[in-house]
């Protein structure tokens, strides 16, 4: 199974995939991603929001605006077309007011991800055993405690199950102090699909999905990057 996005990258000779392209590749591999679509007008923004499903998040897209939140360039939890249209106007007006010189490309529309557990999924290559998939809790857990589990590709379903249980913070996935347990099936499925993608594409040198949000409903890749070698 050849991944069409990676195929295209190969034809272009591109080796570094940023958020947008990496997410497209993951999406083609059957891994849920949080699509971010850029809209240039109010009408277009509403249309995209309708397509993605509510609630949505709008963010200003402008190379001149670095701190979007401070610039009032972010609107959360928008539940309808009317709310989206109004939020679009607020963002554009606030930006124009604060940064009169800024070139505004439009706004990005994303489906709002349900609150859940932030995890990291990655991949690296071992000199002896080849590609390995990594799974761990995101944020400070990975930074500070390196609370991760590795498996050599290809992963069985049981391997993926083991990864969830092997990390020290596995209790967080099962529901901790009143939080809801995450969808294990969806996490396991994502790990196995990622292994399948890696197995079919030895040109993938490195990959991070960070963060991947896991909740009761399922999982969503919120950011990703890949490094390829041809």
């Amino acid at each position: 199974m050849t991944n069409p996005v990676l195929q295209m990258m190969k034809s272009k000779g591109q080796t570094t995939l940023g958020e947008t392209e990496a997410k497209e590749a993951l999406k083609a591999a059957g891994i849920p991603v949080n699509e971010a679509v850029v809209a240039a007008t109010r009408e277009e923004t509403v249309k995209i929001a309708d397509r993605l499903g509510y609630p949505v998040v709008l963010k200003i897209v402008s190379a001149d605006v670095l701190h979007k939140t401070e610039a009032k360039g972010v609107e959360l939890k928008l539940n309808s077309g009317e709310e989206v249209a109004a939020a679009y106007d607020r963002i554009i007006n606030a930006t124009r007011e604060r940064y009169p010189q800024a070139v505004i490309d439009g706004v990005s529309v994303q489906k709002m991800i349900p609150k859940g557990v932030e995890v990291i999924v990655g991949m690296s290559k071992d000199a002896q055993f080849g590609p390995m998939v990594m799974f761990g809790l995101g944020g400070i857990f990975v930074e500070l405690f390196k609370d991760v589990s590795f498996k050599i590709v290809p992963l069985t379903k049981a391997d993926a199950e083991d990864m969830l249980d092997e990390i020290k913070g596995s209790a967080l996935l099962k529901g901790f102090r009143g939080s809801e347990p995450v969808n294990r099936e969806a996490l396991v499925d994502t790990l196995v699909k990622l292994s399948t993608l890696i197995d079919a594409h030895p040109e993938i040198e490195e990959m991070d999905i960070n963060p991947l949000f896991a909740s009761k409903e399922g999982v969503v890749a919120a950011d990703a990057r890949m490094i390829l070698s041809w």
Partner: protein, 483 residues
């Protein structure tokens, strides 16, 4: 997993005759060493031996031949002690004699790190494959096959067992076979494979996986040539039989600089640990550990649970045994109700007092013995195994003390002989001795005792930690295997 190569190796491992090329009478030469092993080891080779010697001298009593081609019959197995530059020519002669397998003790190839040696190995590999002759080595001690009497040392047992050993190192293989022998472990075959230019660790692993006589596989490896194949194969093999791996050399080959987050964490992760767990291979921490784990797999049933009862005399030693068990993840259970009731019926006073570990001293003057409790524990459905601490101190102290231990020993042998379906693990300290004490009666008695247990089919360990960690690893293996 059935493979043509495995069948071919089996043919090579069981030759009717052997030619030693470079055989010699010169002491300390390799040509003399291998003749010595074939003739004077416990496993003396039963077929014809043909020394090949430039002056056709008689070597170790066997008539010599100046050239392999002078030998009047086909040859099955060749041990090569010739210098590296002569190997290619020798291989072509082997083909003419229909040789089924060649062991290259011949060394000084890639291990020197010189380009010349690396190149030579490539040529040897290509030639061996072109000729279709499987090669063991180069740079190795080769084969130990007690069934036909091929050995890589003088002290290897002659009896055939059920363990297959694959070892990159010859010294490690020799030492390991001897350590195991003292614990009652015997081998189907052991192979020291060195540089493995032709047959490699995966081929041997596949061979032992296919070999119905081999029930347990041991590996000493420092690195693998084809990690992908090793991973896939190992995962298959452990579904059928346990593979215990001792990895030598902390290789830095797995680490490299990476840009990604995962990459930087991966650099500090031991990929071998990932492999063991994912493939359900049993990791041995060191050679002692590998011996203990092999003893466990050899003598114990496939335990699904690890609830342990402990028997021992002196308080401190049994307490420490219990601690070791707990630390290794075994479950030192409180005395089960059925055992407590049994004791209470005989001696109400002891009903609450009796504990696990079972302390023999509390039973003095009562109508129930510590051994009664041992038997009751072994009968209880809440107990999976029992560790028996032998009170070596008694033997060290006096002949009377030894008498007492021998009596206790008889009782335990009777208990073990009953069909209780629960294993008894013997913890018998291996005393370290000053040289002048080695031959004293009390130490000999301890060694004798060890042999008695082994003959009775009991697993013997030299420490509580050894017994506990090995048992834990066994339980983990069977649990994961049954998933």
């Amino acid at each position: 997993m059935k493979s043509l190569l495995s069948a071919k190796l089996d043919e090579g491992f069981n030759p009717r005759n052997i030619a030693v090329i470079g055989a010699s009478n010169t002491e300390m030469s390799s040509g003399a060493m291998f003749m010595d092993f074939l003739i004077n080891s416990g496993t003396r080779f039963q077929g014809k031996i043909y020394p090949v010697h430039p002056k056709a001298e008689t070597v170790f009593g066997w008539p010599g031949y100046a050239d392999l081609l002078d030998i009047p019959e086909d040859i099955d197995y060749v041990i090569s002690c010739v210098p590296a530059p002569l190997v290619l020519k020798m291989l072509r002669k082997c083909k003419q004699k229909n040789v089924k397998m060649v062991h290259l003790f011949t060394a000084r190839m890639s291990e020197t790190g010189e380009e010349q040696g690396v190149q030579m190995e490539k040529e040897i590999q290509a030639e061996a494959r072109r000729l279709g002759i499987p090669l063991i080595g180069p740079n190795c001690m080769g084969l130990y096959n007690p069934r036909v009497g091929i050995s890589f040392g003088l002290n290897a047992p002659r009896e055939v067992g059920n363990v297959g050993l694959i070892s990159q190192s010859g010294g490690a293989a020799q030492a390991y076979v001897q350590s195991c022998a003292l614990k009652g472990i015997r081998f189907t075959k052991a192979i020291s494979y060195g540089n493995a230019v032709d047959i490699n660790e995966c081929d041997y692993l596949e061979y032992f996986a296919n070999d119905p006589e081999t029930k347990i596989i041991n590996m000493y490896i420092e690195g693998v040539r084809d990690g992908r194949r090793f991973f896939n194969l190992l995962r298959e093999v452990t579904r059928v039989k346990p593979v215990i791996i001792l990895k030598g050399g902390k290789s830095q080959a797995g680490t490299r600089s990476t840009a990604s987050h995962t990459g930087s964490i991966a650099g500090s992760t031991d990929a071998w640990d990932v492999l063991y767990r994912q493939c359900n291979a049993v990791k041995a921490a060191d050679m002692d550990d590998m011996v203990n784990i092999t003893v466990a797999f050899n003598y114990l049933p496939p335990l699904a649970n690890n609830r342990v009862a402990i028997y021992g005399g002196s308080g401190g030693k049994t307490v420490l045994t219990a601690d070791e068990c707990e630390q290794s993840g075994l479950n030192v259970i409180p005395v089960p109700e059925d055992v407590r009731d049994y004791v209470g019926q005989k001696e109400p006073f002891l009903q609450k007092w009796v504990g696990n570990p079972i302390d023999m001293s509390i039973f003095m003057g009562f109508n129930v013995t510590a051994y009664d409790v041992v038997e009751a524990m072994l009968r209880s459905p809440s107990v999976d195994l029992l560790i028996y601490n032998v009170n070596v101190e008694y033997i060290q102290n006096s002949p009377e003390g030894m008498e007492r231990i021998m009596e206790e020993n008889d009782i335990f042998m009777k208990i073990a002989a009953q069909d209780c379906n629960k294993p008894i693990l013997v913890n018998l300290l291996n005393p370290e001795l000053p040289s002048e004490e080695v031959n004293k009666w009390n130490h000999k008695a301890i060694f004798k005792l060890r042999e008695t247990y082994i003959a009775a089919g009991l697993p013997v360990f030299s420490s509580a930690r050894g017994a506990a960690t090995a048992t834990r690893k066994l339980v983990d293996y069977y649990r994961r295997k049954s998933r």
